[in-house]
Assembly symmetry: C2
Homo-oligomer: 146 residues x 2
DNA sequence: TAAATAATGACAATATATTGTCAATAAGGT
DNA sequence: ACCTTATTGACAATATATTGTCATTATTTA
């Protein structure tokens, strides 16, 4: 006797497909939005994380849900482009603090306008509460999927 | 005067972050599920698309929302591993039909049990209707984001 | 039917991301 | 203090995915 998916299992499977597609679409949109600033979705995300707080690479990875090494690679690229710098971390000799430079902050700020316009446009015609509920469900599934 | 994100725009931005994280978690889960069959998330997805219908590489890409070349690469790998074959397509001399071999079908079937168990387990404790609503919202956003 | 346009796979370059290993450092438990 | 365990960045190998170009084949349009 084989295990069958129940209604919940089917729903999760459909959520999986929807997530893959939406992920691709969001990445494409992000690349379009960030291209004029010389960035990409991935670099924008890492740089954006550093807008308010200096953080270690490992910390960024945890916050973003990516592997440490993926973020490390991006951070090294950003450092080479002088969008971030690494500051000594008094709390850990290994893990320096990544910190956005003025140039990096400018790059992010120049994106904000386009990002806001895109996000607002994308949301038009959809009940915001609906989207917020969807996000809550996704967070639940995220925890349960592990 | 700069454009500010409204509630909908904020919601879409949060959806974006949730989508990225869930995408990563689903890929990790998929790799775990498919590893015992010698597959990965990506290969499983392409192979799975061919369970019922033979399709061209371009067709698979459209269905999956990936680039043509990404699917082409995976399909070539699957062909090399004898999990799919390319059949002549009477309708198009360029685009052969990718078709799952018996070996490929067996690989997918051996995954089904584990996938069902995972999907059911992931869904437990969450109202299926909630997940279904979330999927509908994501589809709406997918269309709007382009 | 002829010509313009689009779709397709091959090929290549590049970006993104995971996994694994290693040595250095940190953190926790005894 | 000591020892075990965990975290971290460097390095490397590999998988995933996009973008661009090209020649070939299909499709649409005039």
């Amino acid at each position: 006797m084989t295990t069958k998916r129940n209604r919940g299992g089917d729903a999760v499977s459909n959520l999986l497909l929807a997530t893959f597609k939406l992920n691709g679409a969001f990445l494409a949109a992000g690349d379009k939005i960030s291209a004029p600033s010389g960035l990409t979705s991935a670099r924008w995300q890492v740089l954006g994380t550093l807008m308010w707080d200096d953080m270690t690479v490992s910390g960024i990875a945890r916050e973003m849900g990516l592997s440490r090494q993926a973020v490390q690679r991006i951070a090294n690229v950003l450092a080479k482009e002088n969008l971030i710098t690494f500051l000594d971390n008094p709390n850990d000799k290994r893990a320096k603090l990544a910190s956005a430079t003025d140039e990096g902050r400018k790059a992010i700020q120049s994106l904000a306008e386009r990002q806001h316009a895109w996000a607002n446009a994308t949301a038009t015609g959809i009940d915001p509460a609906e989207i917020e509920r969807a996000v809550e469900v996704m967070k639940k599934v995220l925890v349960a999927s592990k």
